[in-house]
Symmetry: C2
Subunit: 319 residues, 2 copies
């Protein structure tokens, strides 16, 4: 068979019509119900220039396709005018191994499905009333996270923190045009004091948010740390949280905030809840107004499968 080959220009209008929050909820539930086969994440790392590549792959047992997704972060790329995120998704027929689709999305579908997962976490774990959204980081993922929150909360007040003034200004412009009211926070501590829904999106190798800075009632979603080396949240903060939720319990044994907090003896892995289970158990209803809750997202291949299939189906129905 001849595979469908779609460029990002072709994918963009198709994916814009997909309800990604719904697709991710379904994907996480299937994953937590053990209806998916998802091997450990494959990884390649590079030192000079620094970069990491993740291979995520798997399938739903009752499904028709398996996915292989390659996504990379080369953090010096912007110096060359190239986005740091790169990658593509491949969809194969589960019964024959034939290649059905090559989605040349340049890493954009990974950005969208990650942002949609953040929205799922905020929807099911976040405070009933969001007073201010705190966004740490000014990259594509930071912006997509904010955009994905638009249908989840009525709050349009945003405290923003970024290292680079130019990037802060660019983010402000883009987000203002979406209807958000952006204030630059003087520090991450200041951002934490203002916000009760915080999203962190950086590849930081050391914690950016200290336990003492976070106000009671805050929900934090950390999406930046997806390797064993990265960490955005002080481990003591995870120890203090009422609920710690991860997208994948198995991945959280080797990467992300939970991995760090367990290693630092601040958290027991047994107390961590998987997002698909949290959705089904309606964890949000158990949330008290003063609870601190955390979602640690490292990204799961079921998300890639869900978004790739949605795009492929969309392309087929348009053709």
């Amino acid at each position: 068979m001849i595979p469908a080959i779609l460029s990002w220009n072709e994918i963009q209008p198709i994916v814009a019509k997909v309800d990604l929050v719904k697709a991710m909820e379904k994907a996480f539930i299937a994953y937590s119900q053990k209806r998916a086969v998802i091997p450990p994440v494959g990884e390649l790392t590079f030192e000079e220039p620094p970069g990491d590549v993740h291979l995520k792959y798997g399938y739903l047992k009752e499904g028709d396709y398996y996915v292989v997704k390659i996504a990379s972060g080369f953090y010096d790329n912007p110096k060359l005018g190239i986005p740091s995120s790169q990658g593509l998704m491949l969809l194969f027929i589960q019964s024959t191994g034939e290649l059905a689709a090559v989605l040349l999305d340049e890493g954009n579908l990974t950005d969208l499905r990650t942002a949609a997962a953040g929205a799922v976490a905020a929807k099911h774990l976040g405070p009933a009333e969001v007073t201010c959204i705190g966004i740490v980081g000014t990259g594509i993922q930071a912006f997509e996270q904010l955009r994905a929150l638009q249908p989840i909360t009525a709050c349009r007040k945003v405290a923003l923190w970024g290292r680079t003034p130019d990037h802060v200004a660019a983010f402000k412009n883009k987000a203002t045009s979406l209807g958000f009211e952006i204030t630059e926070a003087a520090s991450i501590e200041d951002l934490c004091k203002q916000s009760n829904l915080i999203v962190t999106t950086t590849p930081s190798p050391t914690p950016l948010i200290q336990a003492g800075w976070v106000q009671p009632g805050t929900h934090l979603t950390a999406v930046g740390a997806d390797t064993a080396e990265k960490q955005e949240l002080d481990s003591a903060l995870l120890g203090k949280a009422s609920f710690v939720v991860v997208d994948s319990l198995s991945q959280s044994r080797t990467r992300g905030e939970v991995y760090q907090a367990v290693k630092a003896n601040q958290l027991s892995h047994d107390s961590v809840i998987e997002l698909g289970n949290a959705i089904e158990a309606a964890t949000k209803e158990e949330r008290n107004n003063n609870d601190i809750t955390i979602a640690d997202l490292t990204g799961v291949a079921v998300q890639d499968l869900a978004i790739a299939q949605a795009v492929f189906m969309g392309a087929n129905s348009a053709a």
Copy 2:
């Protein structure tokens, strides 16, 4: 950047001009000299219909690209008129993660690089004078192995064994037109009695060749078993061999003939030699006329990198 996308029709004339034996020798030497970064093989398995998918990926430290190769075997495909091997190769720029090339080779490049590795093994480990080549299996890989042996040995006598009479007849026709003289063996035992260079190419779950059947002075290359479940050679045969060579020592701890023989206590892993080292050490010169030698090939991503790069360079110089 816009990746080069090549179909098998475009790849075929390019790869035909590549000296694959030389490319594989260089790749195996680089690998054994620890100049490559090759993570463990990724794997997906399917039960109904049965299939396995391998993800092989990695890079040379001094190189410009990293490769990701997806190859599958769905053994019921031929019933549907579809080749059992499927797959593609992807080449990315090592310094940015940008996708450079999508090689839609439909699994053919994997077949060719595997066959070339068989030729490398025969060249560096095989008997000085090949009297008859034994080929076990009649699939594409069996045929490519034989074709790859053409420049390695002057022997044109072939004993062939296959389960399906139609496939045996088709193989005979194709191989005869290449100048080989094919005799169908009455049994695998009979094939072993006649041949001193044997290549096994089946996805058998149980050993096909018993230790007592193999004549002194024979070299065997086993390419079929690339998972923890498959096995073509009786473990006692590996115990009996003077040299056991693998393409990858680390992969042989979890898959292939060596994995089975070590598990069955017939072989010590410490005695196994890596192919790249065997090439450099000129192991063939240490071979006595009566030695039985074995090459167990599970396929290494350096091979995929080498063939994908050769094709990409060939396409660029033609363009």
